[in-house]
Amino acid sequence: MSDAVISSVPQGMPAVELEPRLRTIVSHADDNLILAQRLGEWISNAPDLEIDIALGNIALDHLGVARALYTHAGRVEDEGRTEDDFAMRRTEREFLNLLLVEQPNVDFAHTIVRQFFFDVYQGLLWDDLMDSDDETLAGVAARARKEAAYHYEFSSSWMVRLGDGTEESHARAQRGVDSLWRYTAELSAPYPHAWQRRVEGVFGQSGLRPAEDPYQRSGGREGFHTEHLGALLAEMQWMDRTYPGLRW
């Protein structure tokens, strides 16, 4: 028994073993699925109808990217896993999404900050993956890149409106930045300079600033999550786990 516990992975939790190419595809699919789920929680609860529709549409884009990538991952893996197997039948430790996207909704400003940080990252990511040797991944990236530009227009213009708006909206946007900043090192790691430059540009226009607390947390890409992902999955996967194989 003593041999079994010599591992960096907590006992009882399987490590995620995916070959690197598959791991990349699943990581990006997971980011998009989890963020779609968070954005979907806004439907019927947004500050006004246009924002409700916008957040719902952005969620649908992310969900569509996730579905295309899971289906592709299933083909690459070639073990018969479907998009639903990836989305609905994996545990928390098997999800490889960034910690930022699983953070629960607080208020509209917090959601905009989360979306903005992610949109800047995805803009850079899709630019990069468009030239991937993996043709399907490149095709998904070429389309997602144009969608990410629409999302960025929405989130960055709201960053400016909130940050440079009323005392209340500014305070809420800054609180969003302060609470989410700790998840940005993990997010910006592949493109640290470009990410920072773009974020600083919008901070400059909106009167917002990085959090004073430099603490950073990471682990999402290795399957170590904040306490919020488990609860999100419990809700999202409930139907499929309760009624296995259910179809509509």
Binding site: A54, G56, H72, V140, R143, E153
Partner: protein
């Protein structure tokens, strides 16, 4: 025995469930219809990642083929090259405008589909579906959908 060209016209007549004046051929979604013996392979490219109509379109293609007595077929989805609004045909542009939706073009060239006035105002970047923005005409004051260039 089905013939590929006939089947192409059958599949081409499937319409977009959200914009029923447009066929999937007008939209540029339909990439190919090929015959492999008796087996029909239809290849389509999804529009927006989040377009909920894609599943419906796959089902409608299947129904159209079954009505023609085709039993052995598959609908393949390809992501590369990725779809762009440039694939919407001229006929598609005309049908969209007639239907009251401003077809995709540069924002500076969007015309009100009702009175042809230029420089409408954007009300919401995300409209009734993912592919459309909500506009209002600066002349006749009527709101209308604009199919976003993509």
């Amino acid at each position: 025995m089905p013939v590929a060209t006939d089947l192409r016209s059958v599949v081409s007549s499937v319409v977009d469930p959200e914009i029923p004046v447009l066929t999937i051929a007008d939209l540029g979604i339909l990439r190919s219809v090929a015959l492999d013996g008796d087996h029909v392979v239809v290849t389509i490219t999804p529009t927006y990642s989040g377009c909920p109509a894609m599943r419906q379109i796959e089902d409608d293609i299947a129904d159209a083929l079954r009505r023609e007595g085709v039993e052995s077929f598959e609908v393949r989805v390809t992501h590369n090259p990725s779809w762009t609004t440039d694939w919407i045909s001229d006929e598609g542009h005309r049908k969209l405008a007639d239907f009251g939706i401003a077809p995709p073009t540069d924002m500076s060239e969007v015309l009100c589909p009702r009175c042809q006035a230029d420089h409408p105002k954007m009300i919401a970047r995300f409209g009734s579906t993912a592919c459309k923005a909500l506009m209002v005409c600066s002349s006749c004051r009527e709101p209308f959908d604009y199919f976003k260039r993509f």
